[in-house]
Amino acid sequence: MNNYQLTITVDDKQVVLERILQVTRYRGFLIDGISADVNTGTNIGTIHLMVKSERPIELLVDQINKLIDIKSVSVDNNT
């Protein structure tokens, strides 16, 4: 298992967090931790997601990136 930490910025739209969680599970990644907050001024949310999987992280990054309300996804570490 590889552990990864993702930072995802989003437009704070309906169920955006649920969409990210659904894609993460469906694509074969387990969630170890999550924190999320929204800047109410800009309506931009930032989500830190700790995941683990046997699968390459690019697979998940590409799929999360496809979600309509996502602004950016980055992998902060690769441990």
Binding site: Q14, V15, E18, R19, Q22, Y26, E58, L59, D62, Q63, N65, K66, L67, I68
Partner: protein, 560 residues
């Protein structure tokens, strides 16, 4: 969205009437649906609208009709259903549209906002359900957002890799009144941002290749890049193969075209792909039904992958060069002449050596021969839909199409029940073209209620029902891979399909012998209205070739 500016400003609308105004802004003339409590205000607004509604007899039928409507044309398909069971009945159609990247917009009624989350009558969390089976979804909770959400729904359905979008509208929003002009709508920033294309690497791979193969998928038709693809074929002279959804993109007369690849692909296609040293993949995604055992798929080939969806690159097979973006622009950039005469000749020889054979012993009807005969005699621009099973694979193998919008089949999802409602949508979309649904006795019963839609709208849909009194494809697998233990695949007590068709005023005929085929096919094609031709075939007939599951594509079985 300049056309929006022409709308008269400040019109008085309800949510329901605004919905139809926006649909019309997007050129929607036809919708498929089924009413119910939580969508009644929308149906009330429909009563005054110019949008034509096709009442299907099950919401799944409405969803597939919308899919067929979209696939047969370049329009967006629209379907509507009430909350709860109406919405859940749409789900299979949405899943199908997601798997095959089909642009549809589904409108669902929802219980009033105040009742939401209280387990109200006919309340289901369709928004939650939609997460796994749509490209995107919305729930409208403020009338002021409705028009903008609908515009976004159309934009998202069509942009980049196309797909289904659901808009859930609570009843109070449908009833709410609003004064609005449609010209101040926010534009959706295009989400698809692709890096600039660098073709140098791809050109070098291409010019070095001795045995290149062009592997064409459904993306070509969806990108409207048929001309560019055919030009690419002509310029490069590359031997080419097609996926199920790609059929029709390559000119079927192209001498280098080897047919479909994959589980039920032609021998010439699969052997050539396995031997190739370069795969040029265009709008395709290495689906498991295409690759067989992935590790052994085209084991010596480098890969150039053209797609619009970044997530498909390296998903199942590493690309040596990725060309992301619009095929209409990118294909011409790589269309260079190649010197591959020996390879072309080898592929053409293999195609000639492994051609289909239609000599079939005995009196009984041979379905592949019937499908070939229909393909040879059907009018130009005929649109064929299929259900799922052996008949589907035979249609893919033995019929030729000149455009992917002429062959509508449930590829990614393989959904039985697709054929009849998809044919209805196709016929509404292309009223003057001949539409033929090729169905099986199992699949036909899955949306048989749509015969009532054919009757109501007098749609001249032709139905070829291939009756083996079996769930044939499953029976074939049971015979081959489960020791002939035929568990629950017998349909020998099928209803009288002729009487069934007649009950819906549809002319119908059954044939059982080869000698009857030519006249019966002609009668069906010449008939003015809807027609069902049932052909009785041997329950033991199999689809060949077949690559067994998790096996390399060159190890196909050709008979038992």
């Amino acid at each position: 969205m300049n056309r929006l500016k022409n709308m008269a400003s400040d019109q008085k609308h309800t949510g329901g009437s605004l919905l139809f105004a926006v649909l019309q802004e997007h050129g929607v003339k036809h919708v498929f649906g089924y009413p119910g409590g939580a969508i009644m205000p929308i149906y009330d607004a429909l009563y005054d609208s110019e949008v034509e509604h096709y009442l299907c007899r099950h919401e799944q039928g409405a969803a597939f009709a919308a899919v067929g409507y979209a696939r047969a044309s370049d329009k967006v398909g629209v379907c509507m259903a009430t909350s709860g069971p109406g919405a859940t009945n749409l789900i299979t159609g949405l899943a199908d549209a997601l798997a095959d990247s089909i642009p549809i917009v589904a409108i669902t009624g929802q219980v009033p906002t105040a009742a939401m989350g209280s387990d109200a009558f006919q309340e289901i969390d369709v928004f939650g359900l939609s997460l796994a089976c749509t490209k995107h979804s919305f729930q409208v909770t403020d009338i002021n957002d409705l028009a903008s959400v609908l515009h976004q729904a159309f934009a998202i359905a069509l942009e980049g890799r196309q797909g289904p979008v659901l808009v859930d509208i609570p009843k109070d929003i449908q009833l709410a009144e609003i004064n609005c002009s449609l010209d101040d709508l926010s534009q959706l920033p295009n989400k698809v941002k692709l890096p600039p294309v660098d073709v140098t690497n791809a050109i070098s791979l291409l010019s070095k290749a001795k045995k290149p193969i062009l592997y064409v998928g459904g993306g070509v038709g969806m990108a409207n890049a048929i001309d560019e693809l055919r030009e690419f074929c002509n310029k490069t002279g590359m031997p080419c193969v097609s996926t199920l959804k790609g059929l029709g993109a390559i000119d079927p007369e192209n001498e280098n075209y080897l047919g479909m690849l994959g589980m039920h692909g032609t021998k010439a296609s699969n052997l050539a792909v396995q031997e190739s040293d370069l795969l040029v993949v265009v709008g395709a995604r290495f689906d498991d039904r295409v690759t067989g055992k992935l590790d052994e798929f085209a084991p010596n080939a480098k890969v150039i992958h053209f797609d619009i969806d970044t997530a498909e690159i390296n998903k199942r097979r590493k690309a040596d060069a990725a060309i992301l973006g619009d095929l209409k622009i990118n294909l011409p950039a790589l269309a260079i002449p190649l010197s591959i005469a020996d390879w072309q000749k080898r592929c053409q020889q293999s195609k000639a050596d492994n051609g289909w054979r239609y000599d079939h012993p005995g009196e009984k009807i041979y379905a592949p021969a019937v499908l070939k005969e229909i393909s040879d005699t059907m009018p130009k621009n005929t649109c064929v839909t299929t259900d799922v099973g052996q008949h589907q694979m035979w249609a893919a193998q033995h019929m030729l199409f000149n455009d992917p919008s002429d062959f509508l089949t449930s590829g990614g999802m393989g959904t039985m029940g697709f054929g009849l409602p998809a044919a209805i949508g196709a016929q509404v979309s292309r009223p003057t073209d001949c539409v033929i649904a090729v169905s099986g006795d199992g699949s036909f019963m899955m949306n048989v209620q749509e015969l009532a839609t054919i009757k109501r709208f007098q749609l001249p849909v032709k139905i070829l029902l291939i009756d083996n009194a079996k769930l044939g494809m499953v029976r074939q697998w049971q015979d081959l891979f489960f020791n002939g233990r035929l568990s629950e695949t017998d349909l020998s007590d099928n209803p009288d399909f002729i009487m069934l068709a007649n009950a819906f005023d549809i002319k119908a005929k059954e044939i059982t012998k080869k000698s009857e085929v030519t006249a019966a096919v002609a009668e069906m094609l010449d008939h003015d209205g809807a027609y069902l031709l049932k052909i009785k075939i041997d329950a033991e007939d199999n689809v060949w070739p077949l690559v067994p599951p998790n096996t390399a594509n060159d190890k196909m079985m050709e008979s038992i």
